[in-house]
């Protein structure tokens, strides 16, 4: 990228990525839970 955001230090970037991934897993968990309930309803 030619116009970076103000640099995050390595530690901050790592913490941000970890929290983001936790939320991705959370979202996928909701998806999996929903599919499980729907299929169980069938």
């Amino acid at each position: 990228m030619t116009q970076p955001a103000p640099q995050q230090d390595r530690e901050q970037a790592r913490r941000n990525l970890r929290l983001a991934l936790i939320h991705v897993v959370l979202a996928l968990g909701f998806l999996a839970g929903f599919v499980w309930i729907t299929v169980a309803q069938r």
Partner: protein, 545 residues
């Protein structure tokens, strides 16, 4: 915008200003640029969705079929909703979050700037896909934005385009939501504890969690529609042993939190603007936060009030009736707090305040008709009538849309360094406030008298109120050009140097400590926030004043 911050001995060569030309906007990872892109995109969508509503209101000006085929009319109602919800209101709030959340919490940018760029640029492709169906053989989706099977399974070639468009919009929303959550939880300035955050930040945090929880559910539901149509499954197909009503349950498990996704950030905006122009701190800050969280929680356990007439067990109908009514409690807390904030305040009525007050009055009116709809036995009369249309337009237009307009009037001097024209702003407010009621108030009467929604023709006895409603809709639409003109002058007009950093005298908070217009990068070194939530030491880009 040149970078106006001081270089105090550090090597900041990599922090240069924006690229020139179109590449600036395509490659940007800057939260302010992306906020501007989101807002401009949402305005284009509001315009397209508005034109669709004019097709609807033109057709309904008189009974009988005048201008469009019934099939196309149904496409218009379907596409109007999808465009306004997913293209207008949601990106507008994301744009406001992009601009304001980092500046309000003293962060340099959102936590994941490249994901932010990706999240935005998915949207134009998603909507190109969705809107292209208008030109396809067989036409655009016409089964309603709720996509109920079996009707939606009759959609022609537009069907997979609809499903994939919804997938793209969902991915965009989830990336935006995760970005907001991570930014708020990880990147607050020192001293900015959770209960010192501005209400707009709080409401967006809760909204982001609603998005993370419900968007995957929508994605799963529409994927099952796709496999039902093309891959021989029968999740929702009765002939194969499936249950169409199951789709309605799943859809509204997404759909009702979605309603609060569209209104919680609006609560945050109004909670920011009213204290400014009442020149008093927000009454009951903590109760506002808890009320927002309560609304967020309750939004997950009320979904079936959208489907009282499908034949649920009595216990379920009672549960969903009472849980829905319960939402009136935290909402009432909020309305009370806004009124108490204004009580004995030194109020002035600049345009953002007028729109915020319009919000309080008219959103509350929409809330009352919502309470009426929550009463199960009465809902059997109102279901699928224009009363429902009147209800949700009251909470969405003078609710969500007025708050977006208020936010833009409030913050655009900070964004552009130029004050909007106050006289034109007031004219815009009064025309909007009058004509939105002319448009939607008569629809209550139409619904109570039995006029169904999503019909291009109606009994002649409904003519008078429909004429009034259509006149109001056209007048409201054209009133918005005053707003667009006013904003264009702010964006491209000459800076007059009259806008101070603080802009409004009653403001508090970190965003007002940076210069107007806000420099390209703000708070590279975070400010220190004191006990009262005010900065005690300015960040690198914040000027003392």
């Amino acid at each position: 915008m040149a970078h106006a911050h001081a270089h105090d001995g550090h090597d900041h060569d990599h922090h240069h200003g924006p690229d020139k030309g179109i590449m600036r906007w395509i490659k940007t990872t800057n939260h302010k640029d992306l906020g501007t892109l989101y807002l401009c995109f949402s305005f284009i969508m509001f315009f397209i969705g508005g034109l669709m509503s004019l097709v609807i209101r033109a057709e309904l000006f008189q009974p009988g079929l005048q201008f469009v085929d019934p099939e196309f009319f149904n496409s218009m109602t379907t596409m109007h909703a999808l465009v306004m919800i997913f293209g207008g209101v949601m990106p507008a709030f994301t744009g406001l979050a992009n601009w304001m959340v980092p500046m309000m919490i003293g962060a340099g940018d959102l936590a994941l700037p490249r994901v932010n760029n990706w999240g935005f640029w998915i949207l134009p492709f998603g909507f190109a896909m969705l809107l292209s169906t208008l030109f396809m053989p067989g036409g655009a989706p016409a089964g309603g934005w709720t996509m109920y099977p079996p009707l939606v399974l009759q959609t022609g070639n537009a069907f997979p385009m609809l499903i994939f468009a919804v997938h793209l919009l969902g991915i965009s929303s989830i990336t935006g939501a995760i970005n907001v959550v991570v930014t708020i939880l990880n990147m607050r300035a020192p001293g900015m504890t959770l209960l010192k955050m501005p209400l707009f930040v709080w409401t967006w945090l809760i909204t982001a969690y609603l998005l993370i929880a419900t968007m995957p559910v929508l994605a799963g539901a529409v994927t099952m529609l796709l496999t039902d149509k093309y891959f021989g499954t029968s999740f929702f197909t009765a002939s194969g042993g499936g249950d169409p009503v199951l789709f309605q349950h799943i859809f509204w498990f997404f759909g009702h939190p979605e309603v609060y996704i569209l209104i919680l950030p609006a609560f945050g905006i109004v909670s920011t603007i009213i204290p400014t122009f009442a020149r008093k701190p927000l009454f009951g800050y903590a109760s506002m936060v808890y009320a927002t969280a309560s609304i967020g929680f309750l939004s997950f356990i009320v979904w079936a009030h959208h489907m009282f007439t499908v034949g649920m067990p009595l216990a379920a109908e009672l549960f969903f009736m009472f849980s829905t009514m319960l939402i009136a409690v935290p909402t009432g807390v909020k309305v009370f707090n806004w009124v108490a904030t204004m009580w004995r305040g030194s109020m002035t009525f600049e345009t953002p305040m007028l729109f915020a007050l319009g919000f309080v009055f008219l959103f509350t009116l929409g809330g009352f008709s919502g309470l009426m709809l929550a009463i199960t036995p009465v809902d059997f009369q109102y279901h699928d009538t224009y009363f429902v249309v009147a209800h949700f337009h009251y909470v969405l237009v003078p609710g969500a849309v007025f708050s977006i307009i208020a936010a833009i009037y409030y913050w655009i001097p900070k964004w552009t360094g130029r004050m909007y024209n106050e006289k034109l702003g007031k004219l815009h407010f009064w025309l909007s406030a009058i004509f939105i009621n002319v448009t939607f108030f008569p629809q209550h009467f139409l619904g109570l008298a039995g006029m169904q929604r999503r019909v291009p023709d109606y009994n002649v006895m409904f003519t008078d109120f429909n004429v009034v409603s259509s006149i109001g809709a056209f007048a409201f639409f054209f009133s918005q050009f005053i707003f667009i003109g006013n904003m264009l002058v702010c964006m491209f007009g000459k800076r007059d140097g009259k806008v101070s950093d603080r802009v409004w005298e009653g403001t508090h908070g970190l965003e007002w400590t940076v210069p107007s217009p806000a420099p390209y990068h703000t708070f590279e070194d975070p400010p220190q926030v004191g006990e009262n939530g005010e900065p005690v030491s300015a960040g690198q880009t914040a000027k003392a004043h």
